[in-house]
């Protein structure tokens, strides 16, 4: 059985868990790690912990600001030319970036290299097939795939963060391949 480092500093942002982890070793596990990936999401642009929380008339907690989110598109801070061109679609159960999206990726990468203060959040999404928890992991793999590609195009890792919504935020709601192909995607947001 492998013996991993007994104390690993926790990189949580606003984590109330005590800041240490102890490894208990998964015997069939492997120690190979992708160190560079750990930085994604460590510095999420514009995402503070300032979520609005109120209590509704029925006693339920209400979180988020519906008004702010309706006007989200008004707050777009990316390049105007890429406003409508920020989505990369994937084949079923794949995180491989297809050739037809290389142009889009290069355009965003160019902008990010020219504007070192610009930050993007790459959202990973899946279709509805499979279970929600598994799909969250698949969506993260898609977002990481795009992030890695951006890094290979010379974008600084600190300009990139990722989030997976799995199957929770479909672009199109429907229950056949015509809809699913629109939902297997990564979206670049500034």
């Amino acid at each position: 059985m492998k013996n991993f480092g007994t104390l690993v500093t926790c990189m949580a942002l606003a984590c109330m868990v005590s800041a240490c982890t102890s490894s208990s070793g998964d015997s069939s596990g492997s120690s190979s790690t992708l160190v560079e990936d750990a930085t994604y999401g460590g510095n999420q642009a514009g995402l503070g912990d300032d979520t609005q929380v109120t209590m509704g008339q029925d006693g339920a907690l209400m979180v988020g600001d519906p008004y702010a989110e309706q006007n989200e598109s008004l707050n777009y801070q990316g390049p105007e030319a890429l406003r409508e061109n920020n989505t990369i679609y994937f084949n079923y159960d794949s995180e491989t970036i297809q050739d037809q999206y290389v142009g889009v990726m290069q355009a965003h990468a160019q902008y990010l290299r020219d504007n070192p203060d610009a930050r993007i959040i790459i959202e990973g999404h899946t279709d509805e097939r499979g279970t929600p928890e598994y799909n969250i992991a698949l969506g993260e793999r898609r977002a990481r795939s795009v992030a890695r590609y951006m890094q290979n195009l010379g974008v600084d890792v600190n300009q990139l963060s990722i989030v997976s919504y799995g199957e929770e935020k479909p672009a199109e709601v429907g229950h056949s391949e015509a809809f699913w192909s629109k939902n297997r995607r990564a979206v670049i947001n500034y």
């Binding site: 059985m1 991993f4 990189m11 949580a12 942002l13 606003a14 984590c15 868990v17 005590s18 240490c20 982890t21 102890s22 490894s23 208990s24 070793g25 998964d26 015997s27 069939s28 596990g29 190979s32 790690t33 992708l34 990936d37 750990a38 930085t39 994604y40 999401g41 995402l47 503070g48 912990d49 979520t51 209590m55 509704g56 029925d58 006693g59 339920a60 907690l61 979180v63 988020g64 519906p66 989110e69 509805e128 097939r129 499979g130 279970t131 929600p132 928890e133 598994y134 969250i136 992991a137 698949l138 993260e140 793999r141 990481r144 990722i162 989030v163 997976s164 919504y165 929770e168 229950h175």
Partner: protein, 432 residues
């Protein structure tokens, strides 16, 4: 003539009022196994008009939903079942029911007494009272009192605890609502729906504490996933995890001491961790570059089932805390996901990929028994007595909940009166 019409209208209006008071957030449409259960008769209870609950209707519906019984419809109950306060055993026996339940609700000082008797209609005990019970209830808890009757009847006839006084948690998505994502709880039959959290962003994977007072869930309210624990009564909550990357799939251990979850902050690889609520410490369970997720607990809290891609496609594995090893559990089917232990059984429930994604049961010998014929099933959750599985699927073009018995015979859809419903989690039995 007018008088009669007026009275009729008044009655209709009153019925409407009662129906509105007791609206279920989830309807029930039986899609398989009707009339296959054991026949039983539940006679209308003698009860005051003001208690707001038709006890016979609640008990009958409970027994039917259990998948084990086919209660007689009111129209199948003979007119002369009871004459001058006496049960006509021979008349009732002709219905083919094995037993008859009858009873009354009556005022007793400041409360009501709910009383029932069950008489056998077959076998050596024919004509004998085989169960009886009386217990107090206020008007506001009358539905629970009716469910308690169901629990007693069920326990007596099956030897198994009833799960009729349990709550379920689920997520409702209401497209046009300013807070479209809503975490709700309701009685297992959809009554008494209560909102716990409404959000502008997705909520996922609610999981009950074993005492039924708290829920752990994932919320995207900060535009990134975080795991919260919330008290369902005070609504107060604590953030448990918001690491970079995944914070997903929380699952409370049956002994109440740990919450398992999937995190990916170490090396970007989704692995299984748990938060130890006693020692207030996060502990890593798996370390594998492939996806490990969907941790859930065995009944004794001594092992964790999880989904892993370490062998290629996603399959179910089990990590044993004694041996500290992970062992592959599923070998049949292209993919198996979302394992859930079945209380009182060595089998597990999984979502298996075979002509779509379907709820299936894997028995100890490794064989997989398909329980459904739908294609987009997910989020199975097993009733605390192991009898039924509630899950999310797509029917009539919408996401909704459905029920299937653990033996696959009884099937029902639970269409919602509002929104698309998913991520059901069946709560514990808290009151015996």
């Amino acid at each position: 003539m007018f008088k009669i019409l007026n009275r009729l209208l008044l009655t209709v209006a009153m019925l409407f009022l009662v129906a509105n008071q007791a609206q279920a957030a989830l309807q029930i449409e039986i899609t398989g196994g009707i009339n296959e259960g054991r026949k039983i008769a539940v006679l209308p209870f003698s009860q005051p008009d003001n208690i707001g609950v038709d006890v016979q209707a609640v008990v009958s519906a409970d027994l039917m939903r259990s998948g084990k019984f086919s209660p007689l419809a009111l129209s199948q109950i003979p007119q002369n079942a009871v004459t001058e306060g006496r049960l006509n055993v021979d008349v009732m026996a002709q219905t083919g029911a094995e037993a008859v339940v009858f009873g009354q609700v009556y005022p007793d000082n400041n409360v009501y007494q709910v009383e029932f008797q069950m008489v056998a209609l077959m076998g050596a005990q024919k004509g004998q009272i085989i169960a009886h019970y009386r217990g107090p209830s206020g008007i506001e808890t009358m539905r629970q009192a009716a469910h308690r009757v169901s629990d007693r009847v069920y326990k007596h006839l099956t030897g198994q605890d009833g799960a009729f006084r349990t709550r379920i948690a689920y997520i409702v998505y209401k497209h046009k609502d300013p807070y479209p994502y809503q975490l709700m709880t309701a009685d297992y039959d959809g009554f008494n729906e209560t909102a716990i959290l409404r959000s502008t962003q997705p909520i996922m994977t609610p999981s009950w504490s074993p005492d039924g007072t708290r829920l752990v869930y994932v919320s995207f309210e900060q535009r990134k996933p975080a795991i919260f624990v919330q008290d369902i009564y005070s609504k107060k909550r604590t953030k448990l995890a918001s690491y970079p990357g995944l914070n997903s799939s929380p699952s409370w251990s049956p002994d109440g001491t740990k919450i398992a979850m999937t995190l990916s902050y170490q090396g970007g690889q989704p692995d299984i961790y748990y938060y130890d609520l006693v020692n207030k410490q996060l502990v890593r369970v798996t370390d594998n570059p492939a996806i490990d997720t969907e941790p859930t607990w065995s009944q004794d809290s001594k092992s964790i089932y999880f989904t892993s891609e370490r062998g290629g496609r996603a399959q179910i594995y089990r990590f044993d805390f004694d041996t500290r090893r992970s062992e592959r559990m599923t070998f049949q089917g292209n993919m198996n996901l979302s394992a859930k232990a079945i209380p009182g059984s060595n089998s597990i429930i999984v979502i298996t990929q075979q002509n779509g994604y379907r709820v299936a049961r894997m028995d100890v010998d490794g064989s997989i028994y398909m329980l459904t014929t739908s294609a987009l099933d997910e989020s199975p959750s097993v009733a605390p007595n192991g009898s039924m599985v509630i899950y999310s699927t797509v029917y009539q073009g919408r996401k909704g909940l459905a029920l299937v018995s653990a033996d696959g015979r009884f099937k029902a859809n639970l269409p919602s009166t509002s929104g698309e419903v998913s991520a059901p989690c069946w709560g514990p039995i808290t009151d015996k």
